[in-house]
């Protein structure tokens, strides 16, 4: 039952790390050289915005899957994050396209630090849940 979610998790984790890298690069590594490589912060932000929505959608999709599979514990674990995602997207800055990050304020040290922290926390959460799903899958396979 859990095999499909796991495949997705792997993809998602990759996605997650992809998502993590730019921020990491942008902040902790040399920001300037990164900017030079990417020619402009603006394009970077734009690319980056496209990843936010898929992430949220995939996570929501997982939650639906867990709901269908009646995995109540797993669903319960994921609900806070889902709620956070919804809140986060509701309170995003005014913008016409999809996206979360405003290029004009992202360089504010507070916002940047917040985004980075958020990224790390989510990465940790996804990793832990990935292993938890893996464990669940093996457990199901072994017991069946």
């Amino acid at each position: 039952v859990l095999i499909v979610p796991i495949l997705f998790i792997i993809a998602f984790d990759e996605l997650k790390t992809d998502y993590k890298n730019p921020i990491d690069q942008c902040n902790t590594l040399n920001p300037v050289s990164y900017m030079i490589k990417n020619s402009s912060l603006f394009t970077f932000i734009n690319n980056f915005c496209y990843l936010v929505l898929p992430e949220y959608l995939i996570h929501a999709f997982f939650c639906v899957m867990f709901l269908c599979a009646a995995e109540w514990l797993t669903l319960g674990l994921n609900m806070p994050l889902l709620a956070y995602h919804i809140w986060r997207y509701m309170s995003r800055p005014v913008m016409s396209g999809p996206g979360l990050y405003d290029p004009t304020t992202i360089m504010n040290a507070d916002i940047l630090a917040y985004c980075q922290k958020e990224g790390w926390c989510k990465l940790a959460f996804y990793l832990l849940s990935f292993f938890y799903y893996l464990y669940g899958m093996i457990y199901v396979l072994v017991s069946s």
């Binding site: 603006f42 800055p93 913008m95 507070d110």
Partner: protein, 1180 residues
């Protein structure tokens, strides 16, 4: 004050001298060290008396070639004064110019620019700067002698000197200029006498003559010295003890303290002249003191007479420099690689070796010693960051050149700062800025004269070199060492910049290589240290760099081998003409596009006539060269373009009505060369106001018009000026009214401070990417959602002007304001395709920027256009503690293309000391800068969170900082509201902020007005912003010449500032309120008829009209005084403010009374209530 008595001399010296390092054997003094060479070196070698009498000159060490060196000195001294007396008040500069020369001669050192701009204060202040000079010098002299005490004759000579300066430490750390001044006069002349006695050097007796009394005593003092030299320990102990006693006896009067100390010293020294000098310590006798100094400098003063001849007039330096530089430019091309990005152009980051290379090994110093005299000219100015070891070298002091001090280990600074760490100001006298002020009891908190920026507590060499506070200011002039200390102080740390300010004097440097640090790309500046002739150490990242060959030649003096005399090392504000390495593309021409609203609303308001007329008048004054291009776009529900191609008989209008998919009707000839098509442009401008008179079109398609403008501009970049008169209602970017008029005076939530759509922001970012700035002129009578519209200027580095309820005839004040603003707008300088980078000493980092720009990376702002009226603010944070440095520097580099198509870099460098104690942090607080920074932060907060949050944050800023201060100063009563003198205006200014349009609640404020005030806070430079927040109020019906200053042969009266309270207004008086962009003259009901007659030109109060906007030119004394005062106020700022005469019963008086911020209103505290509120918060 509380230093334990009987400490051995060396530590004892420490508590006294906040600036002077303790002379511990292992921690040699640093900054002051080089000065020591002034003491010794001249004794044997120098024939130039300037070295003595003018210890603060930049060239204490005279090169071998006597004559050229003199020329150098004079030249550069003058050059300095010329370049520095810059402030925007050109008028002042003129009048002060000659005065400055005088001062130089009198005091022997170029007075600090900032201080000189103080006008009348000039003399006093420059003497103050002097005193600081003398302090470290004498101190270092002393410390050096402690170390090499018994060794040589010269050392022993120095001894009485040093004892004489025992008085200094306390004085130096205190900011009592007048008190300590006499101490300096003790120092310098006396020193001369001594040295000249012991080492008979020709030429110095001349000066000695000026002090007959002293010279006779010299033998005596010499004897004394010998004994002193041997018993140094016991002697200074006793000395200090007695000083202590005196101190403890005089707790109240600081004046008494200082003089007492000097007395003590005099007694210990038991040398007559010193006692004599003590007399000078009485305040008010400065004239006699200065006369002493004068006489000592008279000889050099005579030499100065040739100055004017040898010095190019002040306006010339750019050209002459340029020429010479071209002559001299060797082919060494700069090593910077070809880059493909503006970021890279301006440079930045720490690409390689981010950690600075370690300080040079000690051998270097030994190696370089032999150069000693051959390379005598490295001067103390560079020494700031380095600690001269020479102070502890027992080598023959007579032969010390300045040189040995240069090869300093950086770690040495560690020792300095650790030794400084012990020097809490509380141990010495409390400086003026720390004097506790009981806010509740002190009724007249506002000073009589405008508040000046505090001067950083640096030694005088650095202080003179430091950046003008008008361009560059820091909220804390003493930088706390750690973030923890900063958090404890609860004060914001940040910079306020006005980088592109109009300067009357600016050294412009043309050189094929612009010398920059190889790792952090910092431009060479006055605060770097030269390790030897060939290498310099970056003061930001501490990397050691090579001095390029070309830099060795000084085009100013046409001499070789004096890199430290180059203008870029002598001026903290310089402009480089950049080579092609700094270009991504050929410099763009000046391109101006005007986007004009011609809908019914706009035509009815009648702004078109004013704009077209103003542009016609200033068409030739638009900054630009032969390539300048200009274009026009008008819009209502359609967008109209104008073909102005040369050769057409008349302008051709092209209408595009497809506003959903806007396109350019012709690819070219919409932007035309100004000079080739001038006639057509003039025709158009004449015709335009009448073309739309009968329009019925009420819609406004601003969005499509802007998209078209962007398409038009994107190939070149330039400036788009948008004139808009209503809410955009068609096409992309249309907006809806969001304001609920019933909520205008709500005390609760103020909504819609942020944009409604991101269309304008995106457009601005696109424009910014194409080097195009959008300036917005909003002239509307209704709500036009400025919060959304302003985005187009905010992120493209444009500027915003707002004229509420504009109408050409119904509202003449606004019409006049538009006229004046446009004149300035058309003719002011402009920089295209600019980037600005702010660098700071390692350990500090930039937290947030405020202003109109797009942030491209952590320290780089992209400014499509930069204008001279734009200010910026930067919040800083301390990432690593600054333990290994005693000075921090900030450098802004603004790279732009001038309107003449030159690529230029304007560099400002600011240097500030690092302190370790909380008291020092408070002592250095710059309350105006802090308030401006807080205002910027509060704007951000109210947009991102809510207005009430921002208001709370402002109040908390005061509460936190004052309670932190009260708890840090344990000797104060906890129950009273006490502030250090430096922060005494803090609550007042914050209250003013809370009552400012941007943040006030309860009073009816239109949303657009509020948003505009917020935009202004973000983008105005400090001086203007302060007047917006806290206007200046003067009483002008009784102007007298008392204290008046002379500007350009005019007498400008200086009435005292009044506090902003109705209690100061009397019905019998007339008052002028200076709000920055507007002057109000309020006339009381029973105002003196003679004032109304003589100044306003009306027979009595009743006949004065309601709308009077200028003062008539009457031939009476009081009219002349009033007019000269007002025009003097006007001249001090770039935007000429409008004048509005308000009668006591006119409806406009509410505007005036809103500015009386100390009074109570229905919705807000009075000043006293506010203080009580703060006190309650603190006690909680």
């Amino acid at each position: 004050m509380s230093a334990p008595a009987g400490i051995p001399p060396r530590p004892a010296a420490a508590p006294g001298g906040a600036r002077a390092p303790a002379a511990r054997p292992r921690a040699p003094p640093c900054r002051n060290g080089p000065v020591q060479s002034q003491v010794h070196f001249p004794s044997g070698y120098s024939l130039n008396p300037e070295n003595y009498s003018a210890p603060s000159t930049h060239y204490p060490q005279v090169p071998h070639e006597a004559i050229p060196s003199q020329l150098d000195n004079q030249y550069i001294a003058d050059y300095h004064s010329a370049c520095y007396s810059v402030p925007a008040q050109s008028v002042m500069t003129h009048s002060i110019g000659p005065g400055m020369l005088n001062t130089q001669q009198l005091y022997g050192g170029a007075p600090h620019p900032v201080e000189s701009s103080g006008g009348l204060l000039q003399e006093a202040v420059s003497s103050a700067s002097h005193l600081h000079t003398s302090v470290p010098q004498s101190y270092s002299a002393m410390s050096s002698h402690y170390i090499s005490s018994t060794s040589s004759s010269v050392a022993s000579q120095g001894f009485p000197l040093s004892s004489g300066h025992y008085a200094m430490p306390s004085v130096s750390s205190a900011v009592y200029p007048h008190l300590s001044y006499p101490a300096m006069s003790i120092g310098s002349p006396y020193r001369q006498v001594l040295t000249s006695q012991s080492l008979p050097a020709v030429g110095q007796f001349k000066e000695t003559n000026a002090f007959p009394g002293q010279s006779t005593i010299v033998p005596r003092t010499l004897q004394q010295q010998v004994t002193l030299g041997y018993n140094s320990t016991s002697w200074s102990t006793s000395d200090f003890q007695s000083a202590q006693e005196n101190l403890s006896r005089n707790h109240t009067g600081s004046v008494a303290k200082a003089s007492n100390q000097i007395n003590t010293v005099g007694i210990v020294d038991s040398s007559h002249p010193v006692n004599q000098n003590v007399q000078f310590t009485k305040p008010g006798v400065e004239t006699s003191v200065s006369s002493v100094v004068t006489s000592s400098v008279r000889t050099p003063a005579a030499d100065h007479l040739i100055e004017p001849a040898s010095v190019p007039s002040s306006t010339q330096p750019p050209e002459s420099l340029l020429q010479e530089a071209i002559d001299s430019s060797s082919t060494t091309s700069s090593a910077s690689p070809v880059t493909n990005n503006y970021d890279a152009l301006e440079g930045g980051g720490y690409p390689d070796s981010a950690t600075s290379s370690p300080a040079p090994p000690p051998q270097i110093s030994r190696n370089t010693k032999p150069f000693g005299y051959g390379y005598p000219t490295l001067q103390p100015g560079y020494q700031n960051a380095t600690l001269p070891t020479s102070a502890m070298q027992p080598s023959n002091p007579g032969h010390q050149s300045g040189f040995q001090q240069y090869p300093q280990q950086y770690p040495g600074v560690n020792q300095l700062s650790s030794s400084l760490g012990g020097l809490s100001l509380q141990h010495s006298q409390q400086p003026e800025s720390l004097r506790p002020v009981n806010l509740i009891q002190e009724r007249n908190i506002l000073p009589v004269s405008p508040v000046l920026a505090p001067v950083p507590n640096l030694n005088s060499d650095l202080r003179k070199l430091n950046c003008n506070p008008d361009s560059f200011r820091c909220t804390l002039t003493n930088i706390p060492q750690t973030q923890a200390l900063l958090n404890k102080a609860k004060l914001p740390l940040g910079l306020l910049l006005h980088p592109f300010r109009d300067l009357t004097q600016l050294p412009v440097i043309t050189s094929s290589t612009i010398v920059r640090c190889r790792s952090c790309r910092t431009y060479i500046n006055p605060f770097v240290s030269f390790i030897d002739q060939r290498r310099w150490k970056c003061n930001l990242c501490y990397r050691v760099n090579d001095v390029p060959e070309e830099f060795m030649y000084n085009p100013l003096t046409r001499s070789y081998g004096e890199p430290h005399k180059r203008p870029e090392v002598q001026n903290s504000t310089v402009e480089f003409i950049a080579s092609s390495d700094y270009m991504l593309r050929p410099p763009q021409p000046a391109v101006y596009l005007f986007v004009l609203d011609v809908s019914h609303n706009a035509v009815e308001a009648g702004y078109l006539t004013i704009v077209c007329q103003s542009l016609l008048e200033n068409l030739d004054k638009l900054p630009g060269d032969s390539r300048t291009r200009i274009g026009f776009v008008t819009f209502d529900s359609t967008v109209q373009f104008y073909n102005l191609q040369e050769g057409l008989s008349q302008p051709q209008m092209l209408i595009v009505s497809d506003i959903d998919d806007i396109f350019l009707p012709t690819p070219d000839s919409l932007l035309v060369n100004l000079h080739e098509s001038k006639e057509l442009i003039k025709d158009l401008l004449n015709a335009l106001p009448n073309m739309f008179t009968n329009t019925r079109e009420t819609h406004s398609a601003l969005g499509p018009a802007l998209q078209a403008a962007f398409k038009l501009m994107s190939p070149t970049g330039g400036r788009i000026s948008v004139f808009q008169s209503q809410l955009p209602s068609l096409g992309a970017g249309l907006l809806h009214s969001r304001e609920d008029p019933n909520q205008r005076s709500s005390t609760k939530v103020v909504q819609h401070l942020g944009p409604a759509t991101d269309f304008y922001k995106k457009l601005a970012l696109d424009c910014s990417g194409q080097q195009t700035a959008v300036d917005l002129f909003l002239l509307s009578s209704q709500y036009s959602d400025l919060a959304s519209l302003a985005c187009m200027s905010k992120y493209s580095a444009g500027c915003i002007y707002y004229y509420p309820s504009f109408h050409h005839s119904h509202n003449p004040t606004q019409a006049e304001k538009l006229q004046k603003d446009l004149k300035r707008y058309f003719t002011r300088k402009i920089g295209f395709e600019a980037v600005m980078r702010i660098r700071c000493t390692k350990g500090l980092s930039i937290h947030t920027f405020h202003g109109n720009f797009f942030v491209r990376s952590t320290d780089l702002l992209s400014l499509a256009n930069v204008n001279p009226d734009a200010g910026f603010a930067v919040q800083m944070s301390i990432e690593e503690s600054l333990t290994d440095t005693s000075l921090v520097c900030f450098q802004t580099a603004l790279l732009y293309t001038s309107s003449k198509g030159e690529r230029r870099i304007r560099v400002h460098t600011l240097c500030l000391p690092v302190v370790t104690s909380l008291a020092d942090v408070y002592a250095g607080a710059d309350v105006q800068a802090a308030v401006c920074l807080l205002a910027n932060m509060a704007v951000d907060r109210s947009v991102s969170s809510s207005l009430s949050d921002a208001r709370d944050a402002l109040v908390n800023a005061v509460v936190d900082s004052l309670s932190a201060y009260i708890s840090s100063a344990s000797n104060l009563q906890q129950s009273t509201l006490i502030a250090p003198n430096s922060l005494k205006l803090f609550p007042l200014y914050v209250l003013a902020l809370l009552k400012q349009k941007a943040f006030r609640t309860g009073t009816s404020t239109r949303l657009d007005d509020r948003v505009y005030a917020m935009c202004q806070i973000k983008s105005q430079p400090l001086g203007h912003l302060m007047k917006m927040i806290h206007p200046n109020l003067y009483r002008i019906d009784r102007l007298t010449d008392e204290g008046a200053i002379h500007v350009n042969d005019r007498v400008v009266p200086q009435p005292p500032l009044q506090k902003l309270s109705a209690e100061k207004l009397t019905r019998e008086g007339a008052f002028l309120m200076d709000c920055g962009s507007i002057f109000y003259i309020w006339i009381g009901k029973n105002c003196d008829n003679s004032f109304i007659k003589d100044v306003l030109g009306y027979p009595n109060y009743a006949s004065v009209p309601q709308k009077l906007t200028q003062l008539p030119e009457l031939d009476t004394l009081s009219s002349e005084r009033a007019r000269s005062f007002i025009s003097w106020l006007r001249d001090s700022r770039p935007l000429s403010p409008v004048l509005q005469v308000i009668k006591d019963e006119s409806p406009a008086k509410t505007d005036f009374f809103h500015h009386l911020i100390e009074d109570r209103t229905e919705a807000a505290f009075s000043y006293y209530e506010f203080l009580v509120h703060i006190q309650q918060q603190i006690c909680k």
